[in-house]
């Protein structure tokens, strides 16, 4: 069990990272990556939703009739996202206001559905929870790195705290949308090059291909 958990961690964070390798789920969060705090809240939200919905669906998998499987999946995912939205509105009103529609868009994040289909269907609830959390971590690592670059160069600050001297001219492009595309591309490039140099010992698991086109 412990070794399996470790394999899952390594796969989800590095060898099969949802953003870098599968290019999944960036739609909902990329737009807020010019601010570290918002990115953190969003990615934690995605990680928690993935973990809990994978766990719930894995626990329920023997009860769900085949015909309504997709509907039940969407129902479970929406349930957790709405909970997150309610909690944010009550306890972090500022963040909730800034994130606006993006919290709701977690529902359509391809990673969540992908993990529910590819992993939770065939594994025990606890392991599915761990799989969801680690997928979320892999996602968080990449987006936080991108957000750090964008906030540092675009505003001269990290988590809203000014770190660059006042004489620094902010790079407006970093605040705007195109920079996010460039940074994701550069991150993918770097990761792929590093992975190619040191061929992965464990072959990527074939079942991990999530449904495309979401």
């Amino acid at each position: 069990m412990a070794s399996k958990a470790l394999t899952v961690l390594k796969e989800n964070v590095w060898t099969n990272n949802p953003v870098l390798i599968q290019i999944l789920g960036i739609c909902s969060t990329l737009a807020v990556t010019n601010n570290l705090r918002n990115t953190l809240v969003m990615t934690v939200g995605v990680a928690l939703t993935t973990a809990f919905s994978s766990m719930t669906l894995s626990a329920m998998k023997d009860l769900i009739p085949r015909k309504v499987r997709m509907i039940v999946q969407v129902l479970v995912i929406s349930f957790y996202v709405i909970l997150i939205d309610i909690v944010l509105r009550a306890y972090l009103p500022d963040v909730s206001r800034q994130l606006g529609p993006y919290v709701g868009l977690i529902i359509t994040n391809c990673i969540i559905m992908g993990r529910a289909e590819a992993f939770a269907q065939a594994n025990k609830p606890l392991l599915s929870f761990w799989d969801g959390i680690t997928s979320g971590l892999g996602y968080m690592a990449v987006l936080m790195a991108i957000a750090a670059v964008r906030e540092l160069l675009g505003f001269g600050s990290l988590f809203g705290l000014r770190v660059l001297p006042a004489g620094f001219t902010p790079w407006t492009i970093m605040v705007m949308a195109p920079s996010a595309f460039f940074l994701v591309a550069i991150t993918i490039w770097a990761a792929k090059t590093m992975q190619a140099r040191k061929p992965a010992k464990s072959a990527p698991r074939p079942a991990a291909v999530a449904p495309q086109g979401r």
């Binding site: 737009a31 529609p101 868009l105 359509t108 949308a177 595309f181 190619a196 979401r214």
Partner: protein, 197 residues
């Protein structure tokens, strides 16, 4: 007080200056995987435009005639998802029965867009910005057309890019993202075109 934004301005702003894909990153997954091929891009773009316009109008009605009067706006996410799924399902049936030719070019893409983030995203924007019905329709249609335009342009560019030598690590998604980045920069050039009011 409803925001007094001219629907025509809203339409053009959502097609060009604030393209839902290039500035809000919505609908990226299918955008990257489908844009390899011009013909599929055309079909998917048409389907997105179609579904977005219709679901925007239907969701507006559901929001203002059901959710708000009953005070259950907190359930809106799930209701919108169901609305999108239902509209897609009905459209598929209608097109299948009425026009087999259209079904071939559009129908196969319909199931793909039930969970396209662009559709849900547009609807959530409409809810949060409390648009009127007219504004809703022009924003929905504009966003859909903007998405269509973006995927057509990208697929045309990709036909060339994919034939050219690219560093191994950048092949496929990497170079596509960089291309999209340049497109997004080009689209910000439209921003001088539209003045408020």
């Amino acid at each position: 007080m409803p925001p007094l934004i001219n629907p025509i301005t809203l339409f053009f702003a959502s097609v060009f200056t604030s393209n839902i894909l290039l500035t809000n990153f919505l609908g990226m997954c299918s955008f990257i995987s489908i844009s390899k091929d011009w013909k599929s891009s055309f079909g998917l773009g048409m389907a997105v435009t179609f579904v977005m316009t219709i679901t925007a109008a239907v969701s507006w009605a559901v929001l203002h005639l059901v959710l708000i009067p009953l005070g259950i706006e907190y359930l809106s996410f799930i209701v919108f998802i169901i609305v999108i799924a239902a509209v897609v399902q009905i459209l598929e049936m209608v097109i299948d029965r009425s026009s087999p030719a259209l079904y071939l070019s559009l129908g196969i893409f319909l199931p793909l867009i039930t969970v396209n983030c662009a559709i849900l995203g547009a609807i959530l924007f409409i809810q949060i910005r409390s648009y009127s019905f007219i504004q809703t329709v022009s924003f929905g249609a504009g966003s859909g057309l903007g998405w269509w335009l973006a995927i057509l342009l990208l697929s045309a560019i990709r036909e060339r890019v994919d034939k050219n030598p690219v560093p191994a690590g950048l092949k496929g998604p990497g170079i596509t993202l960089i291309t999209i980045g340049f497109m997004a920069m080009a689209f910000t050039g439209f921003s001088g075109m539209i003045a408020v009011q």
